[in-house]
Symmetry: C2
Subunit: 234 residues, 2 copies
DNA sequence: CCAATACTGCGATCACTGTTCTCAGTATTA
DNA sequence: TAATACTGAGAACAGTGATCGCAGTATTGG
């Protein structure tokens, strides 16, 4: 049972002093400022001027709050403009906007588990499925397609973010300095790639790459609707 | 400064009773059994018959331990067989084996941050770059390619795992029962997809889909080495 | 109209987390 | 042999998510 099933409040008793939306907004603000780690029950409560225990009147666990946050920012994706009718183009545009949201709220990538789909997420999903209507894909294949699309969104959002956060250093500073130096014989290609790396060859615009890959993957999924289902003996 | 720079032990003083490898092995076991959450300093220490504080002689923080774990299982990827010379085929095969490791150690997907590349990870990277040698890609483009490939691995590993963990229910049980029921008018396509969902249309083998998508993405990256860099006026 | 009911806010508290301090004990080096 | 640099680990700290129980309050059924 997710947050979305539980009623926001009962009918009897005093009116709650706060609302889920209010708490969620505060939590999103805090996450935008200090990352997901800044969203602890205590800190959220403090910002709202109350105690940690009170939050559990609105939310049954921290995970619920994270679900609320994810759905809240999913609502930032613009679903207003009309569809063109070309599934690939429409989905690519949708994915682009979804990626923007991820760039605006980097903590989305740090969520411990894929968030449960809430009302805003349903709107998004409905839109994606509507874009896929002209295709001949099966129902399950359409869901998988959206899943894959979302995966690409998070993938590229992640690389764009870590490139942004490390504008100077080689984007691959993760490999320890010493390790590279110590193993140049065992790993000549890694050494070469790091040496000639980020300076040489203007880094291809990730967003362009994103659009290209999304279109390529989507067309790939359309052409070949299903691997012959009867071909699998076991 | 990552774990890989810090020396495992100093020259003086008594011999350590344990080793990084030993601790790492224990941690991997525990993660395989109980997920990443089961890998707390206290629990790892308990399994090793010591106190939490002692572990900090081998590791400067929990993150170090996670890095060690990731690199340890990266060592499970078989890099022994010869390359064919076809970059797409060689990388596809490599990605397939990497995905197997992710299926064997699902906690890899839960790592809070992309692990720093250790010695085993370097071997893997070197192999991937060697497979890319026949191409005309720039150094940076090659690194991006490997990154994208790894992204696809985690992406498909994730979907395969959550399909495995929910064999019966609609794989999309995340959307709350009530929410779907309550909004069938606002979301007709979602309702339809969930209704006709998992039963109808034999679910396409995810691994086959994986191999197809990997090849497609890779060939896409080869053909079009770089978007004309001078074409961007700003 | 009034008691029963079902709710809200929240202080106190529990179990647990990662991490550091400190200090006794031990092997290596000068 | 003395100085040095290390190891193991108990105790403790700050912070975490979550629960319990109680005082207070609005709604409801009779």
């Amino acid at each position: 049972m997710s947050v979305w099933n539980r009623p926001e409040r009962g009918a009897r008793g005093p009116a709650p002093e706060r609302s889920r939306a209010q708490i969620t907004a505060a939590a999103v603000e805090m996450a935008d400022e200090g990352g997901l780690a800044a969203v602890s029950m205590r800190q959220v409560a403090r910002r709202l001027g109350t105690g940690p225990a009170s939050l559990y009147r609105y939310v049954s666990a921290r995970g619920d709050l994270l679900d609320l946050m994810a759905d809240a920012v999913a609502g930032e994706i613009d679903l207003g403009d009309p569809l063109s009718g070309d599934p690939v183009e429409d989905l690519a545009a949708l994915a682009g906007r979804a990626k923007q949201v991820h760039l605006r709220h980097p903590w989305l990538l740090d969520l411990p588990t894929e968030p449960t789909v809430g009302p805003r997420g349903m709107d998004y999903l409905e839109r994606a499925l509507r874009a896929l209507e002209p295709t001949s894909l099966s129902h399950s294949a359409r869901l998988e397609t959206v899943g894959l699309l979302n995966g690409l969104v998070t993938l590229f959002a992640r690389t764009e973010l870590q490139r942004r956060n490390a504008p100077a250093d080689p984007a691959h500073a993760r490999m320890s300095y010493l390790a590279t130096a110590a193993t140049e014989e065992r790993h000549p290609l890694v050494a070469a790639a790091l040496a000639g790396g980020p300076g040489a060859g203007a880094a291809p615009d990730t967003h362009t790459l994103f659009e290209r890959m999304v279109r390529r993957v989507l067309t790939g999924l359309m052409e070949n609707p299903d691997p012959s289902p009867a071909a699998d003996p076991r």
